[in-house]
Subunit: 196 residues, 2 copies
DNA sequence: GGGGAACCGATACGATCGCATCGGAATAAC
DNA sequence: GTTATTCCGATGCGATCGTATCGGTTCCCC
């Protein structure tokens, strides 16, 4: 047996580099050479970890998807004492990727979304994350007393609204504060209707 | 005076070719050579119309933005007899670009949206369209009896929701029918609240 | 401690990109 | 018919892309 290397660790490190580059220059600005420099490895090492660039991008998408999804779940476990309604607000706020510290992820997410429109493999990866988030949201909304059908519908609406606001914020048509306020107002209307 | 050419007409024809290519392969799949072939002109002609590729893309964005915006306005003028609420539904349905015949435009729009996240010039073009659509929606919502503040908020929410649903449909996480139903349900809730 | 497999880094290659250049075709004024 | 000007289409150029290749290094196993 020869030299051994933690492949998974390296793949994650490369995925981080990919994401950083997407944030800075968009998806088409990602080149193997730049990725190698950013990840502080050689091009050859990148090629060993991922047979093709396509595979690398798919892995990076899964990586960022996991991060967002796990953080959303963390919001639930991290605040078990709060009301279900308030938890929904926190989770949606997390998914919307507003706020400066999430701006990079927002750009990455949007870049993958657009690429997925013409790339079935990326679309599948994205659907995976969406399905998880939607299920989580639906369960939480249902806990507030909404019937299952209505909860599913509201979860879908919330997910789309959050995504749309993210995009509008990224192009500067909406500030993060405005987006957050719209999200909050939508939820307030929802709880008002559910309470009656 | 030498040979004369209708530059505007040619620019539009080229913009159409750009859009067709974005629909098929995404924004990064657009090359000057392919555009020239698709528009049935030479590369030199494309270069004469647009000094740089960047300028060409900006024009194409304006072109598609105009088309969507004009169609949305057309929905208002085309149905003056209907209730304001129903008009809002039609306009939002138009903006969401659901339906097979709008799928290409949806992909183009999303591609420009993602590119705009790292390209200020494209972002400005996109904001231009968004502002127009948002203003139109706000006026229509206000006509249903909602106060100005609430109408503006609802217009912003609707625009974001429509955009988000478009993206989810494009990656196959939502069908066009589901998206339409969610949009319809959201509006139904809005009118119910406004009516009380 | 010698051998062989796994890994690395550098380089080469073919393709393709945006853009610049340039000779000639086309046309209106004289 | 000549001339001047505008446009076209082809070609060239330099850069950069993803990927393949290959000698050298490293390290586990026996």
């Amino acid at each position: 047996m020869p030299k051994q290397v933690d492949h998974e660790e390296r793949r994650r490190r490369i995925a981080e580099a990919v994401c950083a580059l997407i944030d800075a220059q968009g998806l088409e600005g990602v080149t193997l050479r730049d990725v190698a420099v950013r990840a502080e490895v050689s091009v050859g090492a990148v090629q060993r970890c991922f047979r093709t660039k396509e595979g690398m991008l798919q892995f990076a998408l899964g990586h960022i998807g996991e991060r967002v999804t796990e953080r959303a779940h963390g919001r639930v476990l991290g605040s078990p004492a709060q009301s279900a309604a308030s938890t929904v607000g926190h989770v949606v706020g997390e998914v919307a990727l507003l706020g400066d510290e999430r701006r990079a992820e927002a750009r990455i997410w949007l870049a993958f979304l657009a690429a997925a429109a013409v790339n079935p493999a990326l679309a599948a990866g994205l659907r995976n994350s969406y399905t998880g988030l939607e299920g989580l949201l639906a369960r939480l909304v249902e806990e507030t007393g909404v019937d299952a059908e209505g909860a599913r519908r509201e979860a879908r609406t919330l997910l789309a609204l959050a995504d749309g606001l993210t995009g509008h914020m990224l192009v500067g048509h909406r500030t993060a504060a405005e987006a957050e306020e719209l999200l909050h107002a939508h939820l307030a209307g929802l709880w008002a209707r559910a309470g009656e």
